[in-house]
């Protein structure tokens, strides 16, 4: 097991290095110039040239790459070209909103999605199953921003129950923090609930048709024991895989929700940085995100052993 974990961690470094080279080249080869963005629409060529020189953007690409890697290895992720602040400081400011939103979304999605999936499988072919299947199809089909605007219109503007936009850090109190996250969490959860519910239903249906389930029923096991003790445990591996992948996608996919609800998270930081060609931010966030993806996958792989004792590394 330890050797496996070590191998995976080493592969993480290789993945991050590949991502680093790819992102660096992509940014430098893509059209656009941070100096021009800084200088403004009416700026003269001289103003832009002066800023380029100062930012070191005229250095040869290999020199820029070496500087970047050297700084990163020493723990310096660079300074935002625009904000003039360390990238790590900016990322730490944006981490809490994204982690809060993602975690709450996953919590809600797993709780409701798995419950819906079990219910649908248990009552397969019945009205509840058809209702939940219809919900799943709807959840997949409706884009998150449509759900977002819908929720804002009814719950924030018409009913005035919740704020339209913004984020309050948890340090300002649990109430305001939670209040600002309710609508974004619901908007973002809909698709994930649908996804997890479908996978859970399919896995559970497969398990429920196994011989040992019939045996359990013949022995007089209760519905609860059959579903949660026997079936869910055996259907757990694919569900866990899906939850892991969903969480990894969620980290990078919250940007639309962050935009609709004006949540200053990592997603918006990256999108703004891409629009501004703020190279240090884009590079650092993508590198760290790739590391996070690998870490989540590793965690999921290790979690398999808890659900299924037959799995060994």
């Amino acid at each position: 097991m330890a050797a496996y974990v070590f191998r995976r961690l080493v592969s993480t470094i290789a993945v991050m290095a590949m991502v680093g080279i790819f992102v660096f080249l992509l940014l430098r080869l893509a059209p656009g110039d941070p100096a021009a963005m800084i200088a403004g629409r009416s700026a003269t060529e001289e103003m832009i040239a002066g800023i380029r020189e100062k930012l070191g953007l005229n250095d040869p690409m290999p020199v820029q790459f070496i500087h970047w890697v050297r700084d990163m290895l020493s723990g310096d992720f660079g300074t935002s070209i625009f904000a003039g602040r360390p990238v790590l400081e900016l990322m730490s400011q944006r981490l809490e909103p994204t982690v809060s939103l993602s975690s709450l979304t996953m919590l809600v999605s797993v709780m409701i999605g798995v419950s819906f999936g079990i219910l649908a499988a248990w009552r397969a072919g019945g009205p509840i199953d058809r209702l939940l299947t219809a919900f799943s199809a709807l959840g997949f089909s409706v884009p998150v921003f449509v759900v977002g605007y819908f929720l804002v219109y009814f719950f924030a503007m018409r009913a005035q129950l919740l704020p339209v936009q913004g984020y309050k850090p948890i340090s300002q109190g649990l109430g305001p923090w939670f209040e600002h996250l309710i609508l974004p969490t619901v908007a973002l959860s809909v698709a994930y609930i649908a996804f997890i519910a479908r996978i859970t239903r399919a896995s559970m249906l497969e398990v429920l048709s196994e011989d040992y389930m019939r045996t359990a029923a013949a022995k007089g096991a209760s519905s609860f024991a059959m579903l949660f003790h026997h079936a869910l445990k055996n259907a757990g591996v694919p569900i866990l895989t899906v939850v892991g992948i969903s969480f990894a996608y969620l980290i990078g996919g919250v940007v639309l929700t962050e935009t609709v609800f004006n949540i200053p998270g990592i997603g918006r930081l990256v999108v703004d940085a891409i629009n501004n060609r703020d190279y240090p931010i884009i590079q650092s966030v993508l590198i760290l995100t790739s590391g996070l993806y690998v870490f989540i996958n590793l965690t999921v792989d290790l979690a398999y052993t808890l659900i299924d004792p037959r799995i060994r590394y």
Binding site: R41, S42, V152, V164, G166, G175
Partner: protein, 532 residues
Amino acid sequence: MTISRREIIKTGLAAGAAISIPSVLRAKAASGSTPTVHMVKANDLRIFDPIFTATNVTADHGLAIYDTLFGLDSKFMPQPQMVGKWSVSADRKTYTFELRDGLAWHDDTPVTAGDCVASIRRWGQVAPGGQLIMERAGDISKKDDKTFVISLKEPLGILIDLLADLSPPCLFIMREKDASRPATEQVTTNIGSGPFRFNDALVKPGASYTYDRNEKYVPRQEPADGLAGGKIVKVDRIIWDNISDPQTAFAALQAGEIDYVEQPPNDLLSVIESDPNLVVDVLDKSGKSMLLRLNCLQKPFDNVKARQAMLHLIDQEAFMSVLAPKYGASVTSIFGGDTLYSNDENTGWYKKGGDPEKAKQLFKEAGYAGEKVVVLQATDWAPSNDGSQLLAAALRNIGINVELAPSDWGGLSTRRAKKDSIENGGWSMFITSEADFSLANPLATPLLLANGESAWYGWPKNDEYEALRAKWATVATLEERKALARQMQGLWWDFVGDVRLGHYVSPMARRKTLTDIIGLPQVVPMWNMQKA
């Protein structure tokens, strides 16, 4: 396991109560709050140094935390602001300025003449007006802690106007140690002597910026008038919330979470107007002109006939109906729609609805032989995105081989600097805009240069025009300058330095409770505004 109806009702009531808690808490919080104004600016405040960049949002930031030597009043006449007294020598070559009492930096140290000298020198590195002063100045020096002198090699009648100019980058006075940096290097602190203090502890780059009232600021005694007069701050705090989605910004405005949206999208204006709690208002009455820059170095627009063809082709009414419905108009003067120097010299090319036949004829006379015409289209700026498509359609209608080159503004900014041929990644035209206030000063805006490859993108060249433009700084009276403007415009429309697509004003939206915002071109000062 069974669930009773009573349990379901109980659960529902509990959930309802739980959901309503936040709104109750919010109502309580609102009733005890101090006057804080929430504003959504047109762009994010990406750069804090108002000399380092010419963007309007940074100029607004500068206006809040820094002070200026002079300020333009509502009639665009320069009035002393930090300056208490000033005088000019009999030969009009030596200007002496004395700072007024009570000026202090946010770190409580006094503002000195040395700070002013350093600030003028730094501004003079980048601002066209400042560069002109630096060219003409023999010496700029401090006489004592409160007095400094600008000695000129020859008289410069518009010196005070240039010092007061509000076209970014404006002359903001910074601490000497900040202003000693080169203009291409950002100032890293936000310490000014203006009516607001920038709250560094609360800044969240890309998300929100907080300005607190500077309790120690000593305003002038005169009433506020444009950028002149007393800068009296009537709210405790102003927060710029960066809401990138216009629909969300609008919803927040309606819900009362935001007080001001600087640039609401055109398609929401009618909805805003119909809301009894909101007002659509125009702060910059002089507005902006929408321009088409043509690449004078490459075919086909290296031929003046092809450029003249574009003048005749454009149907300004059609463009404005798309780009600025309700708020657009036609414009024929290079100095803008309604400025001191707007005139009708050599505007015979203008025809309502355009004249495509004439344009076709002129392209033929230019020897156009099907060369590709590349229109740079910035998809993240609506006027460029929509206008370029309209432009392409108009050109195709008269048989021009057009190719749209879509990118974001960043991509356009890079490509427009290329002087190469179309085959080597060059370009033919792109849409931009400029404030009429800036266009009324051909020494301040780079868009009215015609000195070839040193000119702004498109690089028009006309030596006769440039000779006239050089006289702008020396003519003594307004009437003489107006006459000069007519001559310059006469030439400009002959060699076609650019093509106008129309003139427009940008409406902003605010809640009715936010009042007394000072309306000016280019900048939005935050003093004087009140929130009920």
